[in-house]
C-alpha cells in the first residue's frame, strides 16, 4: 500500500472521469444515483405494427446509457420500414427487423448491451418470458395480437414490472403506463421557486441567539454592519418586537402588511442607494415566511395511506394470497417505514423535519456560513429523531442513515403515485362526462377532451388498419350514439386516414415523451404521469380516463396533426 499524504492546501481535486464527461449534461439532472439506476436497467421492447415508435423510444434510452435492451419483433424489414424507421438501412431489407434495429441502436452507445428476439425461428414469447432474465420495464407497441398483450401483463404482474404501451398512427398517438402497485418518489425535484420553510414563526434557541448577536444595538451599527444583517435575522428581530407590542405574531393579512411596513421603515435611506438591499429582501420575504406551512396535499396523501390496510376492491378476487403478501412486502419497504416515522415526527412537532437549506441572501460571508450551519445542525437533529423512530420498527434497523436524511431533506415534496382500488368506470359514463365537460370547455376556451382520439386509436389496438365506419361500429358497442358525435367521427376519420402507418415526426415525439417517463420510473426521480392500473391486464380505460378527467389541458395524447382549436385548445394567451 502506498503512502497517501493528505494536504489541506492545495485542496484535493476531483477531475471528471470519462463517464462523467460523456454524461455531464444528464448527470446535472439525475446525478450519479439516477445514472446507476439506468445502468442497472434491462428494458424489453415488444415491437409491432409499423414499428418506429418503440425504436425511437429506445434510442432516447440507449443514449443516456441504460444497461441493456432487448427487442422482440418477428417482422421482416420491407421498403416501408425504411421510410419511417431511422435505425434500419438499405442492407436491412429482407432481414429480421429486431436484429437490424438492435445493431444500429447499439452503435449509439458502446456501454449499452443490446439483444434481439427471436434468435431462431419458432421461438415464442413463452420462451422469452420463461428464461432466467428479468426485465426492469417492458414496453410494447400497438397494434398487437391480444394473446401477446395477455402474456406481457401476466409476466409483468407476476414479477412486478412496469409496462408501457404505445400506439402511434398518422397524426395521433397515446401511451399508457401501468405501474405494479404504489410508486413512491422521494426525489421529486421541485421547482427552484418552491418555498423552503425557514421556521421564522417557530425559531429554536440557536437561531434566536444568532439573531440577537446581529441585531443588538441595531440603531447604532455602522452602515456596513446594518446593510449586511441577513434578512432571516432582520425578520426575526422585527417579529420579536412586534410580539412585544401586540402580544402575538402577525396573523391576518392586514397584520402582515402592517408588519411589512415596520420592516421597511427600519431601512436606512440616507445613503447614495436610497435604501438597503438586505431590507428589500426582508420586505419581499415577509408574506411567505410569516405563514405557518400547511402540510402539502401530496404528503398528506402519504400520511393518510398505510400499505398494510389498503382497501381491497373487486380486483383482489384474482389472487388474494399474492395481494396480501405484496401488501406486507410494501409495508416493510424502507419508504413506508420512513414515511411512518416522519408522520410521527409531524404529529409530535406540528412540522416536517427541517430541510436545512438556506436561500442566498445579502450577508457577510462568515455570517451567512454561520446561518447555514445553524440550519444544517437543526436539520441533522430532526433527521436523527426520525432515524430513532425508524430504528424502533421491526424492519427498520437496516435502513441506511443516508436514506433517512435524503427523505427528511425532501419531506415536503415526497409523493406516491397510487394504485386504484375502485372498479373500472363505465365507458359510456366517461364518454358522457367528457362530452358534457366539453360543452363547458368550449364556452370557457378550455382544452377539449382528447377522449375521442384515445377511443378511436384504441379501437384499432389489434388490427392493422380500419375504416372510419369500422372504428365507429366498434366504438358504438360501448357508446351507442358514437356515429352521431361529430368529434368522434372526425377522430375516427383521422385514424382511418393513417391506415395503421406511422408518421416519423409523431413517433419521434411520442418516443421522446415515453422515454422521459421511463427515465423517471427507473431513476425514481421527478414525477411520472399518474396512470395507475394495478395488476390489470385487461384493457381498462379507467386509469387513462382518470388522467384525462383530472388533468384537463395536460396532454398524454398527442393531437399532433391538429394543433388548431379542435384538439389542443390553448388555455392562455400572452
Amino acid at each position: 500500500m502506498t503512502d497517501i499524504i493528505i494536504d489541506q492546501t492545495p485542496p484535493i481535486l476531483h477531475n471528471p472521469s470519462d463517464k462523467e464527461k460523456k454524461y455531464d449534461r444528464q448527470l446535472r439532472l439525475w446525478a450519479a444515483s439516477g445514472q446507476q439506476a439506468l445502468e442497472d436497467a434491462h428494458i424489453l421492447l415488444l415491437n409491432s405494427g409499423s414499428g418506429a415508435v418503440g425504436i425511437e423510444t429506445l434510442k432516447n434510452l440507449v443514449l443516456p446509457g441504460i444497461g441493456k435492451f432487448t427487442i422482440a419483433d418477428e417482422a421482416i424489414v420491407d421498403e416501408a420500414d425504411l421510410g419511417v424507421n431511422f435505425f434500419l438501412e438499405e442492407s436491412s431489407l429482407g432481414k429480421l427487423r429486431s436484429e437490424c434495429c438492435t445493431k444500429l441502436l447499439q452503435e449509439l452507445n458502446p456501454d449499452v448491451k443490446g439483444d434481439w428476439f427471436p434468435h431462431e425461428q419458432g421461438e415464442t414469447l413463452e420462451h422469452l418470458f420463461g428464461s432466467e432474465q428479468r426485465f426492469t420495464l417492458i414496453m410494447y407497441t400497438l397494434p398487437i395480437e391480444p394473446k401477446k398483450v395477455d402474456l406481457i401483463h401476466k409476466h409483468a404482474s407476476k414479477h412486478k414490472i412496469p409496462v408501457i404501451s404505445i400506439h402511434s398512427a398518422g397524426f395521433y398517438s397515446y401511451f399508457r403506463i401501468r405501474l405494479p402497485g404504489n410508486f413512491p418518489i422521494v426525489e421529486t425535484h421541485p421547482d427552484s421557486t418552491a418555498t423552503t420553510d425557514l421556521r421564522l414563526l417557530t425559531p429554536w434557541p440557536e437561531l434566536l441567539q444568532f439573531t440577537e448577536s446581529l441585531t443588538e444595538n441595531i440603531e447604532n451599527q455602522s452602515a456596513l454592519e446594518h446593510g449586511h444583517i441577513p434578512y432571516v435575522a432582520l425578520l426575526l428581530h422585527y417579529l420579536g418586537k412586534w410580539k412585544d407590542i401586540h402580544g402575538s405574531l402577525p396573523a391576518t393579512y392586514k397584520e402582515k402588511t402592517a408588519f411589512r411596513d415596520t420592516v421597511a421603515a427600519g431601512a436606512r435611506r440616507d445613503n447614495p442607494e436610497g435604501g438597503e438591499e438586505n431590507f428589500d429582501e426582508a420586505v419581499a420575504a415577509v408574506l411567505k415566511t410569516t405563514s405557518l406551512p400547511t402540510l402539502p396535499s401530496s404528503v398528506k396523501e402519504v400520511f393518510d395511506y398505510s400499505p398494510s390496510d389498503v382497501r381491497i376492491g373487486t380486483q383482489i378476487t384474482r389472487e388474494p394470497m399474492l395481494m396480501d403478501y405484496q401488501n406486507q412486502m410494501e409495508a416493510s419497504s424502507s419508504f413506508w417505514i420512513i414515511a411512518g416515522a416522519v408522520k410521527q415526527f409531524y404529529t409530535k412537532h406540528g412540522a416536517l423535519p427541517l430541510a436545512g437549506s438556506v436561500p442566498d441572501m445579502k450577508a457577510q460571508s462568515t455570517v451567512y456560513v454561520k446561518l447555514q450551519n445553524i440550519y444544517k445542525a437543526k436539520a441533522r437533529q430532526d433527521a436523527a429523531e426520525v432515524l430513532k423512530i425508524v430504528r424502533t420498527h421491526p424492519s427498520g434497523k437496516d435502513i441506511p442513515e443516508a436514506e433517512v436524511e435524503t427523505f427528511c431533506k425532501n419531506a415536503a415534496f415526497i409523493k406516491v403515485i397510487r394504485g386504484t382500488d375502485t372498479a373500472p368506470l363505465n365507458i359510456q359514463d366517461i364518454a358522457n362526462k367528457e362530452f358534457d365537460s366539453d360543452e363547458n370547455a368550449a364556452l370557457a376556451s378550455m382544452p377539449l377532451s382528447l377522449f375521442p382520439i384515445y377511443i378511436s386509436l384504441n379501437a384499432t389496438s389489434h388490427v392493422a388498419f380500419a375504416s372510419s365506419s369500422d372504428i365507429l361500429t366498434a366504438i358504438s358497442k360501448s357508446i351507442p350514439n358514437a356515429a352521431s358525435n361529430s368529434r368522434l367521427v372526425q377522430a375516427a376519420e383521422e385514424v382511418a386516414r393513417a391506415k395503421g402507418g406511422e408518421l416519423h415526426n409523431i413517433s419521434a415525439l411520442t418516443g421522446g415523451m415515453a422515454a422521459q417517463e421511463v427515465i423517471k420510473i427507473i431513476t425514481k426521480q421527478y414525477i411520472p404521469i399518474d396512470n395507475t392500473c394495478v395488476f390489470d391486464e385487461l384493457l381498462d380505460l379507467e386509469a387513462v380516463m382518470r388522467r384525462i378527467l383530472e388533468m384537463k389541458g395536460r396532454e398524454s395524447y398527442i393531437g399532433g396533426g391538429v394543433a388548431g382549436p379542435d384538439i389542443l385548445r390553448s388555455t392562455a394567451s400572452a
Binding site: 446535472r28 417482422a75 388490427v463 367521427v489
Partner: protein, 448 residues
C-alpha cells in the same frame, strides 16, 4: 367493462408495393377531417416537396433530431449550418456522432450520416457561423428550422429573416420554426416574419439570469457559484494564466476550479466541484435526448404541415408550444401576439425608465439585464451619436461620453436609438422617461 376492439390476424399495415413512402403518402395523398382548403393531393403537389429547400440551423442535440426527422418527412433538399466541432459531452444525445468523430465538424458529420442512412436525400453542410452568410444565401430557402442554444444567434437569424421580407415577392417570406430545451422542458414556436409575433417580440419570455453584483464576488462570497465567478471574472483578469480563456480547454477550467476551490476554503463555503465550475463558466444547460426528441419532432411536424398542408399548422393563430415533463406531463399551446414596439418587426418607440443620475456606462450595463433588451454590446444615439462600439476610431471619439450622466446627454421625453450589430438588424427605439430628478452633472460617487 372492456374496451371496444376489433381482432384480426397477424398485424402489419397495408402498403403499396415497394413504396418506401407508403405511410407518408397515406396523409399526403388523402385529406383528413381537419385538412384545409389549400391541400392538394395530386402527384404534382406531392412531388413539389422534392424541390423545397429547408435550412437547419444548428447540428447539436436538436439539430441531429431535426435532420433525421426532415429526411424521414419527405424533404429532399436540406442544408445544415453549424460552426461547432464535436465534443465528448455531445455523445449522450447527439446520436449522429460517435466517439471517433470527436473534434470533427458537426455539420459535416451529421450531413454525411443522414445522407448515407436515408436514400434520396441531399444534405449540404456549412461549417461556419450563420453571420458569415449573406441575404442571397438565406433567400434560397423555403423554410428555416432552428435548433440553437444561443439567444444571440436566434435574434440574429430572426432579424435577418424579417428584413428579407419584400412585399412584392411572396417567396421572400420564410417561415421560421424554432425549438429550445432545458432538462425535461422545452418550447417550439413558428414565426411568419413580419406577419406574426417574432423571436424579438417574445424575448422577455426568456429573461436572463440576474448577474451577481461584483462587490459580492469581490468581498462577500456566500455560494460556491460566487467563488467560481470570482475566479472567472476577477482572478483570471489579475493573473492571466493563459493568453485567452478557452472554456473548452480542460486545463483552463481546472485552473479556475483550483482558484475557486481555494477561495471557497478561505470562506468556508461548501460545494465547489469541477462540474459546478464548468457549469457556471460555460453556462451549461442540462440536456437529454428525450426532450430534444420531443421538441425537434414538434418543430419538424410543423415544417411538414406547412409544406404539405396535410393538417393545420401552428403559426397564424396559436404559435407557441410549451412542454414540461418535470411533474407528470404538461403542455400548452397559445398565441403570442406581435408587438407594435418590437425593435425588429414593429415601428413604435417603447418607453424606458432612465435614472438621469446614471452615467451612460451604467445605463449601457443596465440594458444587458433588461429582459426585453438583453443587449451586451449596444451602440447608442440620440440626436447625435452618444456611443459607438465600432469602428475603433468612433469608439474612441465617443468614449468620453461613458462617464457623463444621462441627464447631461438626453432630455426627458427624448427618443434614443439602440443597436447591436452582433444581433443583426435589431433597432430599439426608446422614449426616455426620467425616473427621478436630475441632480446635475456632479462627479460620480463611488457606489458600494
Amino acid at each position: 367493462m372492456s374496451q371496444p376492439v376489433m381482432v384480426s390476424g397477424p398485424i402489419s399495415p397495408p402498403k403499396s408495393k415497394n413504396s418506401r413512402w407508403t405511410y407518408l403518402d397515406n396523409v399526403r395523398r388523402h385529406p383528413g377531417p381537419f385538412t384545409g382548403e389549400t391541400f392538394n393531393s395530386s402527384e404534382e403537389a406531392v412531388s413539389l416537396m422534392d424541390n423545397l429547400k429547408v435550412l437547419v440551423i444548428g447540428a447539436g442535440g436538436l439539430g441531429c433530431e431535426i435532420l433525421k426527422n426532415l429526411a424521414l418527412s419527405g424533404f429532399k433538399q436540406i442544408h445544415v449550418i453549424d460552426m461547432d466541432t464535436i465534443d465528448v459531452s455531445n455523445l449522450n444525445r447527439q446520436f449522429l456522432f460517435r466517439a471517433s468523430d470527436v473534434g470533427s465538424s458537426k455539420a459535416e458529420v451529421a450531413a454525411r450520416f443522414v445522407e448515407k442512412r436515408v436514400r434520396g436525400v441531399s444534405i449540404t453542410p456549412h461549417n461556419c457561423k450563420i453571420q458569415d452568410k449573406d441575404d442571397d444565401f438565406y433567400m434560397q430557402f423555403n423554410i428555416i428550422v432552428c435548433g440553437l442554444d444561443s439567444v444571440e444567434a436566434r435574434r440574429w437569424i430572426n432579424s435577418t429573416l424579417v428584413n428579407l421580407v419584400d412585399d412584392e415577392n411572396e417567396d421572400s417570406l420564410k417561415p421560421l420554426i424554432d425549438g429550445g430545451t432545458e432538462g425535461f422542458k422545452g418550447q417550439s414556436r413558428v414565426v411568419f416574419p413580419t406577419i406574426t409575433s417574432c423571436i424579438e417580440c417574445q424575448l422577455d419570455m426568456h429573461a436572463p439570469r440576474a448577474a451577481v453584483p461584483l462587490c459580492t464576488l469581490a468581498t462577500i462570497p456566500r455560494q460556491p457559484e460566487h467563488c467560481v465567478e470570482w475566479a472567472h471574472i476577477i482572478a483570471w483578469e489579475q493573473e492571466n494564466p493563459f493568453p485567452t480563456l478557452d472554456n473548452d480547454d480542460p486545463e483552463h477550467i481546472t485552473w479556475l476550479y483550483k482558484k475557486a476551490l481555494a477561495r471557497a476554503q478561505e470562506f468556508n463555503i461548501q460545494g465547489v466541484t469541477y462540474s459546478l465550475t464548468q457549469g457556471v463558466v460555460k453556462n451549461i444547460i442540462p440536456a437529454i435526448a428525450s426532450t430534444n426528441a420531443i421538441i425537434a419532432a414538434s418543430c419538424c411536424n410543423e415544417a411538414f404541415k406547412i409544406a404539405t398542408q396535410t393538417n393545420p399548422s401552428l403559426g397564424m393563430a396559436e404559435n407557441y408550444m410549451y412542454y414540461t415533463g418535470n411533474d407528470g406531463i404538461y403542455s400548452y399551446t397559445f398565441e403570442h401576439l406581435k408587438k407594435d414596439d418590437c425593435p425588429v418587426c414593429g415601428n413604435l418607440a417603447r418607453d424606458i425608465e432612465v435614472d438621469p443620475n446614471f452615467t451612460l456606462q451604467e445605463f449601457i450595463d443596465s440594458l444587458a439585464e433588461r429582459a426585453e433588451a438583453q443587449l451586451k454590446k449596444p451602440s447608442i444615439r440620440a440626436d447625435r451619436t452618444l456611443y459607438m462600439q465600432s469602428p475603433p476610431s468612433l469608439e474612441e471619439q465617443t468614449r468620453p461620453n461613458l462617464v457623463k450622466k444621462m441627464g447631461e446627454l438626453v432630455g426627458n421625453g427624448d427618443e434614443i436609438g439602440v443597436t447591436d450589430p452582433s444581433l443583426g438588424a435589431v433597432n430599439f427605439k426608446y422614449k426616455v422617461k426620467f425616473s427621478r430628478e436630475f441632480r446635475g452633472a456632479v462627479v460620480k460617487e463611488n457606489i458600494d
